[in-house]
Symmetry: D2
Subunit: 345 residues, 4 copies
Amino acid sequence: MIRVGVAGATGYAGAELVRILAGHPNVELSVVTSRQYANQRFDRIYPALAGAVDLECAEHTVENLCERTDVVFLALPHKISMSVAPDILKNGQKVIDLSADFRFQNVDAYERHYQAHTATDLLATAVYGLCEIYRNDIRGAKLIGNPGCYPTSVLLPLVPLIQNGLVDPVSLIADSKSGVSGAGRSPSLTTLYGEVTESFKAYKVAEHRHNPEMNEVLSRAAGKSVKITFVPHLVPMSRGMLSTIYASLNNGVGGDDIRSCLERHYKDQPFIRLRSDDRLPDTRFVRGTNFCDIGFRVDKASRRLIIMSAIDNLVKGAAGQAVQNMNIMLGMDETAGLDQTPYPL
Amino acid sequence: MIRVGVAGATGYAGAELVRILAGHPNVELSVVTSRQYANQRFDRIYPALAGAVDLECAEHTVENLCERTDVVFLALPHKISMSVAPDILKNGQKVIDLSADFRFQNVDAYERHYQAHTATDLLATAVYGLCEIYRNDIRGAKLIGNPGCYPTSVLLPLVPLIQNGLVDPVSLIADSKSGVSGAGRSPSLTTLYGEVTESFKAYKVAEHRHNPEMNEVLSRAAGKSVKITFVPHLVPMSRGMLSTIYASLNNGVGGDDIRSCLERHYKDQPFIRLRSDDRLPDTRFVRGTNFCDIGFRVDKASRRLIIMSAIDNLVKGAAGQAVQNMNIMLGMDETAGLDQTPYPL
Amino acid sequence: MIRVGVAGATGYAGAELVRILAGHPNVELSVVTSRQYANQRFDRIYPALAGAVDLECAEHTVENLCERTDVVFLALPHKISMSVAPDILKNGQKVIDLSADFRFQNVDAYERHYQAHTATDLLATAVYGLCEIYRNDIRGAKLIGNPGCYPTSVLLPLVPLIQNGLVDPVSLIADSKSGVSGAGRSPSLTTLYGEVTESFKAYKVAEHRHNPEMNEVLSRAAGKSVKITFVPHLVPMSRGMLSTIYASLNNGVGGDDIRSCLERHYKDQPFIRLRSDDRLPDTRFVRGTNFCDIGFRVDKASRRLIIMSAIDNLVKGAAGQAVQNMNIMLGMDETAGLDQTPYPL
Amino acid sequence: MIRVGVAGATGYAGAELVRILAGHPNVELSVVTSRQYANQRFDRIYPALAGAVDLECAEHTVENLCERTDVVFLALPHKISMSVAPDILKNGQKVIDLSADFRFQNVDAYERHYQAHTATDLLATAVYGLCEIYRNDIRGAKLIGNPGCYPTSVLLPLVPLIQNGLVDPVSLIADSKSGVSGAGRSPSLTTLYGEVTESFKAYKVAEHRHNPEMNEVLSRAAGKSVKITFVPHLVPMSRGMLSTIYASLNNGVGGDDIRSCLERHYKDQPFIRLRSDDRLPDTRFVRGTNFCDIGFRVDKASRRLIIMSAIDNLVKGAAGQAVQNMNIMLGMDETAGLDQTPYPL
C-alpha cells in the first residue's frame, strides 16, 4: 500500500482528493492537514464522508505531511505550495502540487501573473501533469505541477490538433464556462448562492491566469509562440466545466481529419471519450468522474472548427487528474481509484 | 456471478439501478429493457455511462427479462409490474419490484389508492423490502415490494420508536421534502426547469399514495391502527429527500431514551448514520449514497420530538435499497455495490 | 413627496427597500447609507439598478439619515438599530426598523434571545408592524418594529384562527422553508452556492429567534401563553418562503369554518390572496411581490388543519411590509409602490 | 387607451406580454387567447397574476383576436403566425409577431430553415423590430417581425460596429448562453429540471435557426454578405441570455473607438446600458427588464474585441421588445409599461 498525505484537505479540491484516495485500492490515506480545521475530525467538516474517512485533520506542517507517507498531495493556495514542497521532496516523498507553483517552465510568465517564485531550482525537474500528453515525463517525475482546470479542458483537445498542424494557431479562442466550486470554499460575496443563481457572466476577460498556462503548453505543441484568446464564465452550478473552442481549419483539412487525429491520440485513453454520435458533451455526463468528453462540429461557411470539451473541474480538472498522475508516477493501473460508475443523473 | 436484468432501465430509478449493478462486484448485468428506447444503446440515452455499460436496450418482454437472469428488477410503473411479475416468478427468477404493486399486505388499501390488483395471490409471499426493519423476512423472499421513497425516510426513524412505545402514535406528522427526480423522467409541465427553480410548494397534501403505505407499516409496528399526517413538498433540486417528523413524547420519555433506542437498533447497520454532534442531516450529505442520516431534537416547551431524516430518493429511496434487498436475499455482503465513497460536494 | 432615507441600503433587505422606494409614486429617496460601501455609487454595488437609482451611499451616521428625510428605514443588524433609533426619533423622523430590536413588548424575551436592550423606553410606543393584524395601531405610530419573515408567514394565517378559537393553541407546529437570501449578503460558508445547491436541511431546530417573536403575538391573540413548535429549513433558492402549519381543529370546527374565518378577515386585504381553487401556494407565485398567498387542507383522519402560506421573504417578509407600514402610517394608499404586476415565471 | 390582444397568451412569452401589458398605462388588455387553455381563467394557469389579470382565455380564433382590439400580439409557433396575420391585418389591426414568420426579407433563407412561407406578399411591408436599429421603419409599420432572442443580444452591439467598419465581418463569432425558458413551456425531456440542473452544454452548434436571421441583418449593416459563427448553449437558469462576441479589430481601431462608437449610437437609448466601470454584464442585472447591458474588452495579443451582451430572453428578447415596438409604432413614450425598477437580486 502506498501511504499518502493530503495538505489542505478541507478545501474543495482537497476534500475531493480525500474522497478518491479513501476509495483507492492501493492507497492508505495516512494524514490530512488543514490550516483552518486542525484537530477536528474530517467527517465533521464533510459529514458526507462519515463512515468512509476516520481521520482527524492534523496541523499543516511539513513534519506531519512527511510522517508515514510516500506521496504528498498539496491542495494549497499558490505561494504556500512552493514554501513547503522543497522540504517534502528533500525528505524523500514525491509531491503532486495542485497549485500553479510548479506548472510553468517559464519563470517570467509565472512571476508576471502570480508572484516571485521562491523555488525556481525545482522548476527544471517539475513535470506538467497533463496525463494524456506528458505521460512519459510523468512516469519518472518526483514533482508534478497538476494542471489548472481550464487548461485541462482546453489543451486536451487542442494539443494533438496543433501538433499535427491541422488548425491555425493564430485563430484560437477558448470560451470556457465553469461551475462555482472552482472558486473554492472560502466565503466570498461573488460565490454566495444569491449572487450566483439565475446569473451568468464572464469574468477576468482575456486576463485570467490560466491563459499564460495554456499559452506555454500550446506554444510547446506548435513549436512557436501561440497566444489563445481565453474568456472564462461562471455558470450557476456547483461542478463542471465546458470549453467551447474555436479554431480555423488549415487548408485542405476537414472534419474527418480532425476526427481521425483525435481518435489516433485518444482511442485507448481510458479517460477521454470522443462522442461519435449526435450527443454533444455536457458537464452532467462527466460529473464526479475523471472523464474528458470531447465533441466537435465544423462551421462550413467560415471553415471554423468548433470543439466542445467537458470535464468535472474538481476531478479531471484537479483531484482526479492528480491521482491519475500518482498512478502513472508509481506504475499503478492508471484508472485505480478513478473507475466508479458515473451517475446517470 | 449473479445474473440480473432490469426492466424499465431508462427511467431515473432504472438507470440508477444500472449504475449500481454495473459496479457490483458479484453481479453480471445481463439484460436491460426499455419500452421507449428498445434497440438503442443504453449509453446513448445516458451518455454519462459510456464506457461503463455496453448494452443495448432490449424490448420489454418477459422472455427477454428471463433469458440469462437469476434476479429481475422491475422499475416499471404501477400496474405494469404486477402484469409481468407472476410469469417471471414462475420462470424461477427472483423479483424485486420498485413499484407499489407488492408493497401492501392489505389489498383494499392498495386498490383504494391505486387500482384493482391483478396478482393478489402473490401478496401473501411478497415481502416489504424495508431492509433494516424486515431483514429476516427478506432473506428467504422471492418477491420484494421495494418501499416508496417517502415511506423509507419516514419509517426508518419512526418504526423503532413506535415499537418501543416512546412516542404517541396519534401525534405523528411527517413534513417531507423531495427533489424533482422522484417525479420521473416523463416530460410534464410541473417538472420543467422553469416551473421548479426558485419554487417551493406542497402537493397532494394529506392525499399522497405513500400515506397509506406508511400507515400500514406503522400500524404493524404499533399493533394498532396508526394514521400519520403526511405532507410532501417539491424542492428545487434533482436528488434528495428530507423528512421532518413530529411526534409527542410519551410520559417519562426524554431525548436520551430516543437516542439509546435508535442507537440500539441502528448501531451496526451499515447504511444508517445517527448524527451525535451538531451537524444535522442534509440531503447533500447522502447524495448518491444508500445512507439514511438521522438526527433529532426535542422541543421542550411542547415535549415534541423532531426527527430529521435524509436519504437520496433514487438510492436508499429506490435503486440502492433494491440492490440492498438483493444482497440480503442472496446472502451476499449487504453493502456490495453500495460502498462507493460519497462525494464531499 | 415624502422624503425617506434607508440605513444599511446595500444589504439584501436594504437594496430591496431602495428598489421599492425608487418606484414609489409619493416618495423621494433622499439618502441611502452603507457602512461598507460609503462614498460609492449605489448602482456600482447593484448594477441592476443603473438608471433607476442615481445616489451615492452616504456614511452611516444619524446626521446623514436625518438630513432631508421624513421617514427613516433601518435595515441594520440587531443592536445597531436600537443604537441610532432614539436620536432619529428625537430629531422628528418616523422610524421603521427591520431588525428585531423593536418587535418585542416583552423585554425579557428579547434579552433572552438577543442581547441587553439599550432603548427600553421606546418599546412601549413601538408598534409591531404586522400590517393586516395591527393596522389601527400602525396608523398613529412613530416607531415600527417590522416583523421577521418567518413570523409574517406564520402569523398571518394563524392569528385570525386563534382569535376566533378555531384551532387548539397547544397543537401548533410551523414547518417553514426559506430561500437563502434571508441569511443576508455577508459572505459565509453556509450560504455559498456549492453548499446550498442540491441541499435541503433544517437548522436551528426549535431554537430559532423568530420562535419567541411568534409566541408573543400568538399569545396576544389567544389571550394566554402559546408556544408554537417551529422548525426552519433552508431551500436551494434565492427568494421565497413557505410555511406549512399544522393545527388541531377544535371540536365542531370544519374546513368551511376555516375558510369563512379567513375570508372574513382577508377578503378586502390587498396583499392576502386566499386560493379557493386547486392551486396551492407556491413561492414562485409571490416572488418579488408583497403578497401572502394562503391555502389549506384538512386531514380528516387526524382532524388536523394544514395551512400553506407563501411570501417573498425580502418583500412581504421585510422591505415590502416595511413600505406597507409607511403607507399606513402616513395615510397613503396602502399599495403605493407595491403594485407592480407579478412575473408569471 | 389602446386595446390590445395577445394570441398564445399562456406560453412563456405570451404570459410575459400579459404581465407587461397589464401594467401598461396606455393599454387595455382586451383579449387573450390560448389553444390549450381556452375558457379557463388566466390566473389559474399563472396564479402569480391573481388580482392583476381578470381575464378568461378565449379560443384562438381571428374573430376573438379582432374583437375590441387595435393591436394584436402573436406569441404563436412559427407557421401558425403567418396563417392568422393576414386576416388580422385585413381587419385593420396592427400586428406584432413574435415568431420567425415575418423576420426575414429573404424568403429563401426563411424557407430553407423553417418551411414554405404562406404569406410572402406581406414580407415586403413587414419590419424587423430591432428597435434601436430600425426605429424609423418601425414608426410607420403595420406588421412587425419581432426579433429572436439570440439575434437581439448579438445584433445590438455588433450592428453599429459593422456599419462603421470597426471590425472585420469575416471574423465574427457569437458564443451565446441562454436560460431554459427560451425553450418554451411545452413539456420535453430536455427541459426537465433533472436534465438541466448542474448541466451546461452547447446545442445546435452552427445550425441554429437564429443564425441566418443574424446573417441577414449583419449583411445589411455591412453592405455585403456576412456569415457569423454562432453557437448557442443552455444554462441552468430560467431567464437570461449572455452573448460573448468575438471580432477582429480592423487596422488602426482601438478600444476607444469601440467605446465612442457605441456611446454615439446608444447614449440616449433608454434600454441600452453601456458599462463604463469594472462591472461586466450579468444576466442577473437585466432579469425581468427590457435592458440590454453591453460591456467589452480588447485582447491585445490577438487584437480581438470581446463583447459581452446581456438581456432577459423573455423581455428584451421577446415580450419587452414587442411592447417597445408597439410604443414606437403608436407614437407613445418608448418606455411606457417597461419602466419598473429592476430587482437588486
